[in-house]
Each structure stands twice: as C-alpha cells, then as structure tokens.
C-alpha cells in the first residue's frame, strides 16, 4: 500500500503559457473541463504535504508510509532475476521459452501465479487455485480492477471502513464510484455500523456491492480487527450478499502472531483478497495481486471466476504486469523457500521495534497523567506502519505548518483519510521509514509541539 509522498516535489514547469505561432489563438484547457478526479481534494492535500516536506527539509517526517530501504541493495535485483530464470529452466522451460517469458507480452493474469498461490498457502493458510489470482501493477491496480468489475451503474455503492486508505477512494473517484464511509469507533470497526449502512443505502435505492477494509494494522489508523469481528464480518457480508475487499499489506511485515486473514476464514467466496509485494519485496517492482475465486455465471449458465473478469479489465488498463518485475518478485520469494514471511523475518522485527520505540518515547514525553490532563490519546498497534493520536486542537494544515516550522516535525492530518469528512483532531504517525535516532528526536519534537499547541 503506497503512500503518495514522493521524495521531492513533482517537477513542474514555471507558470507560463507556452509560445504560440502568431495568429493562433487556441485557448488552453481549463481544469474545470477535465474529469473531476484531477480536482480531488485528496490530491491537493498530498501536494500540500509534499510542499511542506520540501520546504522544511530539516524536519523529521512521520508522514511517508514507505518501507525502510536499509535492507535493500541494488545488486539483489540481479540475484532475484537470475534465480527466477534458473527456476524456469529447472521447471523444464527451454532457453527459447525463457526468452519469450521475459521478452514478450505475457498472460494478462500474470506468470507467477503458482508461486503466489504457494506462498499464500504456506504463509497465510489461504488455499486458492492459481487461476483465481491476477497479478497486478501493485495493489493499486488491483483496487481499480475490482471496483470496475463490481460497480456497473450509478446506484452501486462501495462501503469503506473509515478513516480509509486514499488509494481506494482515489480509484473510486476515477471511476465515478459512490463511496459510503462506515466510521470506525474508538474501539475499532463495528459490524452493527456496517449493517446499518447497508440497510440505509438500500433504503435509498442503492446497491452496496462491497466493503473495503484493512483488517490488520490499518492505514491510516493502525487498528486491527479482532477474531470475533472477523467472523461477524464474514457472516454479515455473506448474509447481505456483499463482498469484503481485504487489503492487508502489513501482515507479513509485522512481528508476532497474526489473526487469521479474512480470506483464510472464507467459506463462502465472500472475500476478495488484495495483496501487495511493496512492503514485503520492494515498492519499485510495482507488483501486487488479487485473489478473486468468486464464481461468475453468465446468461448461458457458464461459470467462470471473478478473476477472469478482472483479467479482461486489466487488458484495458495495463495489458499485463511487467515480466521483469514479476521475475524479481518471484526470485525473491524463491530465495526464501517461497515464503513471504520467511523473507521478512528481519524486516518484521525492525518495524516492530520502530513501532515499540515510538510508543515508548511518546509515553516517556507524555506519560499517562500528563496526557490525561492534556486530553491526548493514542492507540498502541502491535505491528504495521501507523499509529494515530487524538489531540485537543485542530490538526489542520495551519497546525501542520506550525509543527514543521517551529518544532521541526511533520505528520499527516487524519482528516485527509476521511472520505465523508471527519478526523479534525487526529494525527497519523508513520514509523516505518525513520531510523531509531530520528524516532527518538522526532517524538520529542512532537511532544513539544503538542504541549505548546494544547496551550499548557
């Protein structure tokens, strides 16, 4: 799950109109005439965050939800590719077949589906046929494909657990898909709230098609669904005939025991599982996947899989995922006996330590009594990249500028993640990208900012 924070500002020409030959008076395009998605306020907020980051380069930034790249070495890529090519040869491919696999247009649904299916069985107890998998250009393309397949008209609605990852709301915006947020409570997601939202949408004549959720260490809130909520969610979705879109990029880079993935509990083909190798292998590869083993029946009674329909849509988006990227990801997996979890033992420990350090330092600077007095709260995720704070002041862009300028610390306003509005006092901290020293110094700065801002 990417975070839309490039290292630097988008390259942009100086504001000028281009030269035109004399006598030609063609008018420039007006932004208001372009599709509404390019004016999505989420994009402006991300641009704003980029500007802040670039204007205050000395500030410590808890904003970007990027993986830590200290484990990576560019030379690894060569090893990964070589291993996958060797694997193809060992599996009986001739040099010519290997050449075609790397060179040509590939199967739209992907060429490493067996390897992914094996890893899902080994890591996640998710047992699905390779044919139910479509390899995608990151989880982002998977979201777009699933939304496009499921939403066929203006009355179809996507429900999302809110606060919500911007990738899914962005994809919805692109396709003019209506999104209805189901707000998380303080103690997390509530099935009763989801059911109420389903009923309310139906009463308005709309058709809820799916519910999007990050069950483990959610981006942005850091919340995790408990085992009971998982069972209830599946039961509820099955009963109402909606699909659950499970997006879980942080599971295998988090330490300790995991709750079962929704897809591993799914007896009724209720869950579409969206996967990403951006955190577990590397983001630059841009490889994700979707598991869509739902049967689809056409008018003549023939049954296929939802994955087949997603592949058709993919043929109109990217044709197929880069063979090079697929090879690099497969090579990395093969190096760890096909287990993503194995590959990420050190990374999971690193991220777990970063999260624990952040929580420990926050507690040191704002111990329980002090934060009770200030009315400051935060959650305590056991994994993932994110935690959230609630503070007694507005965490708007003005507050963010003060924080960066006067205190040297950057964070993300939670309001960015509320598609229906909300989160006015929330702060998202990302702990994945910083060094231990930056975490120590950054939390100290953040505590000073919060103290000052709270007026005490």
């Amino acid at each position: 799950m990417p975070d839309r924070l490039p290292d630097r500002l988008p390259d942009r020409l100086p504001d000028r109109l281009p030269d035109r030959p004399p006598g030609r008076a063609a008018r420039p395009l007006r932004k208001s005439e372009l599709h509404a998605s390019v004016s999505d306020p989420v994009l402006d907020t991300m641009t704003f965050l980029n500007e802040i980051t670039s204007r205050y380069p000395e500030a410590i930034s808890f904003a970007p939800g990027r993986p830590y790249d200290g484990f990576f070495d560019s030379e690894q890529i060569f090893g990964h590719l070589r291993r996958y090519l060797d694997h193809l040869a060992e599996q009986g491919s001739s040099p010519r077949q290997v050449r075609t696999a790397m060179y040509q247009y590939g199967p739209t649904a992907g060429q490493i589906r067996e390897i992914i299916a094996d890893s899902l069985r080994a890591d996640e107890n998710i047992d699905v046929p390779a044919e139910s998998i479509v390899v995608t250009v990151g989880a982002q393309e998977a979201m777009l494909l699933v939304l496009r397949a499921l939403i066929s008209g203006p009355d179809d609605v996507l429900l999302v657990s809110s606060p919500c990852y911007v990738g899914i709301t962005g994809a919805a915006r692109l396709l003019d898909v209506a999104v209805t947020p189901v707000d998380e409570r303080d103690d997390g997601f509530s099935c009763a709230d989801l059911e109420a939202a389903i009923r309310s949408e139906r009463a308005r004549g709309r058709r809820p098609r799916a519910f999007y959720v990050v069950p483990d260490h959610s981006n942005p809130s850091g919340a995790t669904l408990g085992p009971r909520a998982r069972s209830e969610l599946l039961e509820l979705a099955g009963r109402h005939g909606i699909l659950v879109l499970e997006d879980s990029p942080y599971r295998l880079v988090s330490p300790g025991r995991r709750h079962p993935a929704l897809k591993s509990m799914d007896q009724g083909h209720t869950v579409v599982h969206i996967g990403s190798f951006s955190k577990t292998v590397f983001p630059g590869a841009r490889v994700g996947f979707v598991v869509a083993d739902q049967p689809v029946v056409d008018d003549s009674g023939r049954t296929g899989l939802l994955a087949d329909e997603l592949a058709k849509i993919k043929s109109m988006v990217t044709v197929n995922t880069s063979s090079l990227s697929q090879a690099a990801v497969a090579g990395a997996l093969l190096a760890a006996d096909g287990r993503v979890s194995e590959l990420n033992t050190a990374a999971a420990a690193y991220y777990g330590d970063a999260m624990a350090a952040t929580l420990r330092e926050l507690d040191r600077h704002l111990p329980a009594k002090r934060r009770a007095a200030l009315e400051v709260h935060w959650n305590e995720p056991t994994g993932g990249f994110f935690l959230t704070l609630r503070v007694p002041f507005r965490t708007d862009n003005a507050a963010l500028i003060r924080s960066a300028q006067d205190f040297g610390v950057i964070w993300t306003p939670m309001s960015y993640f509320h598609p229906g509005g909300g989160g006015p006092h929330g702060i998202r901290l990302s702990t994945s990208y910083l060094t231990p020293a930056q975490i120590t110094e950054g939390t100290a700065r953040l505590a000073r900012f919060i103290e000052a801002q709270s007026g005490h």
Copy 2:
C-alpha cells in the same frame, strides 16, 4: 501497441460451482451485474481468436501483432539494468540514491523522462520538456489516462479513425466513454469526414474532445497519413479545439524515410503523443509514455501542464511505473546513444523485409489479373506490422474456422476493429512475428483459401 493474443488460452477452471459449506446458499455473481466492459464483444472476439489458435496449432498465424523475439536474449536485461545503474552513478547519484531509485516508490510521472525527452529530440524532432512526459505501464495505460482526463461527462465524445486499435476502444469502454468512428476511405483518412463528424456530434449536443489516430502504418489497416493530410489534420483540430491523440508504435521499427510525426509539426499544443517501447525495446517491460505539453489553467488562473493532471490520474491507477522496467528501457536506449532509431536499425530492416516478402508472395500467388477477376485487393504498406485485404466473401468467424481447419492459415477478421460495425470483407495480416519460411508457406495457404472461398 499490444495485440491481445497470448501464447495460450487463458487458464480457466473447469466449469463448476465451488464447494460451499452446508446450509450456505450464497448465490454466485451474475456477469450481467458486473460492469459492461467485461461483456465487450471485442473481448469475446479475442477469446475466439485464442481458441482458434490453440485448436489448430499447426496453422500458420498472421494474427498476433507481436514483435519478433529473435533479436532478444534474456541476458541483455542484465546488461541494460547495469548500464542504467552505471549511468545514475555517472550522473552523480550516490549508491544510496541509486538504491532508493530502484527500491522505493518513484515519482509518479516517471524517472527516465529526461532520457525519453532526449530520444524524442534525436529520433523524432519532437522537442518537449521532460516535464511534459509521463512514463506509463505501456501505451495502454497512457490511453486510459488521457481518456480519463479529457472525458468528464456523458456528453464528451472520443472520435477515432476507424478501423481502430482495440486498446483505445477498450479503454473507452472501461470508462463508459462514447466513441464515434470516422471511417477511413479506400485512400485513407479524410479530414472532411472528421470535420463532418465533429459538426454532427456538436449538432447532437455532444462535445468532441479528441481524435485518436495511428498516423504511421496503422493497426489494423496498415494505412499511413500523407504529409498533406497531417497538416490539414492539425489545422482542423486546432480550429475546432479538439486534441489529436497520436499513437505511433511502428514508426521506429519501419524501414526507410518517415513522414514527420504529428507532434513534431505541432505548433499549437494540439497533439498528445502516445509512445510505446514494446516494439522498440521489449513488450515484457511494459513501458510506454505520453507527451502532454498542453497548458491547463485552473480557476485561480494558475497554469500547469496536462501531463501534471495525467500523473494525478496515474497515481490512482498504478502509482508509478516499475523502476526495474524503466531502468531496463533506459539502459537499452543509453546503449544506442539514446536513440531508439539506432537501437532498431536491424529490427526495422527485418520487419521491412517481412512486409515486402508477404506482399511479393501474395502477388506471386494472386497476380494482378487474377485478383482483379476475384475482386481481391490489398494495400501495400511500406512499414509497420500490418496489411489488409479485401475479399469478395464474408470474413466472419465461420470463414476463419474454415481457413484454419481446411487451409492451415489464421488471420484476423477486420470486423473486430470497427467500433461502429463494418469491415465484413476485410482481413488483417500481421507480418511481424513469422519467419520468412512461414510467410512463404502462409501466403500460399492464404491464397488457396481465398481462391476456394471465392468460389472460382
């Protein structure tokens, strides 16, 4: 520009409903409830073509528009990647910066824009700032981005030169974009017809936004716009305030002199140029790009580039293009002094020979007098991958089955490429993927099929 013909049939589960736990009666998804794009007849025709190809493996197929892979060696990939990494180091990147460039999420608009801008200047006399380029996951994603940006409501229309590449109509279908075909005449595209279509759409209350055309060696017809038609098209588009979407994947893999690219003649920011490295480097990389230097003015009067808006949309589709793939493409270009044309000298000669051989063999089997008697015609492209035949019988799926089964030769019905219907007597031949021996034998078979089918 890809051709949707995988080497093999899509993997597909046997037609069965999955096991369900007792008492669970969740119904399968109905295809008719999914988005209409998955029921696009073009997809069915492509599936049909795949089935034919797989059912008659001994048939010689003039169907797939794939590049010839005989020039390729998997080991080249390692060299390309190494060269790009060295280039980054030579440009002053530290090992850590190189690592970040390969590992992390990259700039949405791409990291090899300067290299592409340089090649466009050197190869095509297209002089645009790197900031006007967005690197995409193949030309297909570029088409999707441009359509999404330009089409903002139900009255917006895309005009296409017809017969037409299925990638653009597929992308339009995905976004529910109305497409109006402007039929090519026997002697090619006519500006008068385009102008009539623009006026007619406007009279219906619709807003033509852009005209899509493959000016050089078009897929599927093989037609090329002459120099005068190019000037007229630009003048017309400028006068009517519509953009021209120029898609030209075959220019630099064709022999001999080229007419100027529309974008190189563009004085008024009228042309959006869509590029592909699938034919010139390799399809598996999935790297294309779009040049969109059109100014866009927002409500507050600030001017940016259309490329900036396309990048925003891309952030909701694929986030960024694989760094690995970009590195491989850039490495290949750098090996040829940054010139795509240089890189493809041998390939262009090969494709030119294949086209010439096909035309020569057709003429040998169906000489002028004979084909006049049969009422068979074909065009004589000087480059590209495709030519078209017109025959006196219906070139429908039944004819294709007879051709494959009884004559051992496969081709593509031109009706597949007519978004508004048409092409009932047309055949597309692709000459790019076959060996000289296959071309010789395939044209002989085709001539026998045409003779038999014409009832003489």
